[in-house]
Symmetry: C2
Subunit: 436 residues, 2 copies
């Protein structure tokens, strides 16, 4: 028998595979699996109590009935569900209607590309916009690891723009970062930002900062890539407009996701890219069409099955997901409230200050950030899991340029209220013991 | 109102978007849409007559019942279907059983990664194996455009290895190409090949050539990336072993797809990557685990919905797709036979030679290649569509280094026998008129 080929040295594979970020993510997943009974403030996954397997059948049937109702023959319905489909997707019309109803976003269906989660959308947008190694993406920091990871996979550089303490990226810091990048001979192409309840910081941009951000981005020649997975889930009445809703210049590329508003298992996201692209002879196309060309080289098209099930969900909710998500919004808002009030109860003001402890007060979303007077690294996380039955996420991996060593992220999205109460109690004991 | 930002020059977006290959593909799609009533030998999509929408429900229920039968609680079933899932997928065990039954392939489930179509698998494998610009991928030429496209998206170079007339890549030509690449300072990392009924050539490698290919690849330090979408669909009894089934050295990375054996709308494929990777401190992992790390940056995970439906199909067929596909195999074999015999009937031997016309005789699959005595380009294709109601695919875009200008690809997969008879009649008139 022939000898197996020698193991491939990891160092001979693509550099992204040796990125400490990936190791950190792998470690966190392993720890989470090793402590299945811990109260986990770690995962950013939605609560499952709102899902029922039976509903998949009903959603699918609703979509198929919709196609028949539009006059499609049985054969055409079969084609839509089972065949390769258009690269841009088959439910762009329903998504556009939902965006109009829920966000006041008036975008033509042609400017939409349905993607395999928002993650694929990020990859496509980064690939399209960054022509070579000199092109850089500004990212608000701390930053969702999916973006820095996608950039690494493509061999692209990111430039962190530090967030302020509570309100997301400071528009003036964006100007500074863009100018510094240009002075260093790079071309800043776009800014990636989560204006609503960011992952990991939980921060949200006030409306004036949003307006100012669009102004400075236009002045600096930057597109804005807005990622909005959490916008629905607010503790405060009256949602702020998305950057895309404020966009009068077609300067915002919008990444959407149904992972939190419908369910993650469909892996359905989308990009709104209504920017114009000038091809040979000045022929104009939409950036969405260029993204679709790239998509034919990543996944060919988004599963029709996923689109049909989510399409059915949209139809059954009259293309109004905000309303359909009212119970989920109330649930997450209550959970975040419980987290913050339990932290307050365990660490009231004078003691909190004495201990060097603090946390932010997000207005919604899944996440809050706790600043602690010790290194909140993987070892600390494992001590907390083993000794106190509580899991959380170290913040340092979210800082592309370092930082965040004494911060940890707490997610409330997959827990019940009693779990949060018990989890904060365990966390409080851990913190006191660490400080001691 | 603020002025819209200026259109983005296409030349300032990533270079892959200006690739003539993409324009060619876009043009072909447009022409196909403009002539919906033509007999189309163009698309490589499976025949839809075997699909019924109702079956989706039954497949899904079968998979959910399987999970319950394995003792999963209702909550755990809900998690599997609706949540984010493991990056490597949830039905690797079922796919591994199917590979054992159908291909005699004995691979551990841990070496599998479920992907969004084989296309995502290609992207991940190319990204993992090619560490930098000096690393090149050898591709048998003519070559499936999805591979050259994925390489372009990642900024990687491909080196074409010319196929022989009927039998796929010549192993000695692989040696020559690998040595030339090394002499030019590049590192050839792998060879991409479709040994069974290749797209676009229809060619298949004889078993001795397969064995020899594995020998020379091992000697040259090349991995072999085997793509096998069409292996089931043979006109000859007795399938040849896949390269992976012959692999005793763990030198073959195998790309599989359910697009043709189940249905494309699930967009489900997989990679078998049982190679060992040596990380820091000599810690061994499977290449599959490294691919999964990259996948977390492309699509996070493959839709559970797609996996559940295909998983149900596998279960309902006792993890034996070859048997389940017997009617499809007979259908495609009959179609290919009809195509070849109709070509023969319209162009018998002495006349065929006089005209300078020829075609190959694939033993199976979806495709045959016709060599014609005129340029079979996009303009010719449109003349044929407009004047004769017949569509086909120019071969030139499949040759990464040029060539194939007088060849065209005929696909029989989505047609019925009467359509093929009528299509060849129209094609024969077109050819005679072009030659005249």
């Amino acid at each position: 028998m022939a000898a197996a080929v020698a193991p491939i040295p990891l160092t001979e594979l693509h550099g992204s595979l040796s990125d400490p970020l990936l190791d950190a993510m792998t470690f966190l997943n392993e720890v989470t699996e090793r402590y299945p009974d811990a109260v986990s403030f770690a995962p950013g996954r939605p609560y499952e109590g709102f899902f029922e397997p039976e509903q998949v059948h009903e959603h699918l049937d609703a979509y198929l009935a919709h196609l028949s109702g539009r006059g499609l023959s049985r054969a055409a319905v079969r084609t839509a569900l089972f065949q390769y489909g258009p690269t841009k997707g088959i439910i762009a019309d329903l998504v556009a209607r939902t965006l109009a109803n829920d966000e006041g976003l008036d975008v033509p269906a042609e400017s939409l590309v349905l993607t395999v989660g928002a993650q694929e959308g990020m990859l496509l947008v980064l690939r399209a916009l960054c022509a070579d190694q000199d092109d850089v993406l500004l990212v608000s920091s701390p930053c969702y690891v999916g973006v820095t990871g996608a950039a690494r996979l493509l061999g692209l550089s990111t430039v962190p723009v530090p967030e302020g303490p509570d309100h997301g990226p400071d528009p003036e810091a964006v100007v500074t970062a863009a100018r510094e990048a240009r002075a260093a001979g790079r071309r800043p192409r776009a800014l990636y930002v989560v204006p609503d309840f960011a992952n990991p910081s939980g921060a949200s941009m006030p409306t004036p900062a949003r307006i100012r951000l669009l102004e400075v981005a236009a002045a600096e020649g930057l597109l804005v890539v807005e990622d909005n997975p959490y916008g629905f889930f607010t503790r405060e009445p009256g949602a702020r407009p998305t950057l895309k809703a404020l966009d009068r210049r077609r300067q915002v590329v919008y990444l959407g996701s149904f992972a939190k508003t419908c369910f993650p298992g469909a892996r359905l996201g989308y990009v709104v890219a209504d920017q114009q692209v000038a091809g040979p002879g000045g022929r104009l196309s939409l950036l969405a069409d260029e993204l679709a060309k790239l998509k034919s080289m990543t996944t060919v098209n988004t599963p029709a099955l996923s689109q049909a099930v989510i399409g059915g969900m949209l139809l059954r909710n009259d293309c109004r997901l905000r309303q359909a998500n009212a119970p989920a919004t109330a649930f997450y808002a209550a959970n975040l409230g419980t987290l913050l009030s339990e932290l307050e109860r365990h660490f009231p003001r004078p003691e909190r200050t004495r201990l060097g402890l603090d946390w932010n007060h997000p207005e919604g979303g899944f996440f809050a950030v706790l600043s602690v007077p010790f290194t909140a690294d993987e070892a600390a996380m494992e001590r907390c899991a083993r000794g106190y039955g509580v899991l959380w996420t170290p913040m340092a991996p979210f800082y592309p340029a370092g930082g965040g060593e004494r911060r940890l992220r707490l997610s409330i999205s997959s827990l019940t209220e009693p779990e949060i109460v018990a989890g904060v109690a365990g966390l409080a004991r851990f913190i006191r013991d660490e400080v001691r």
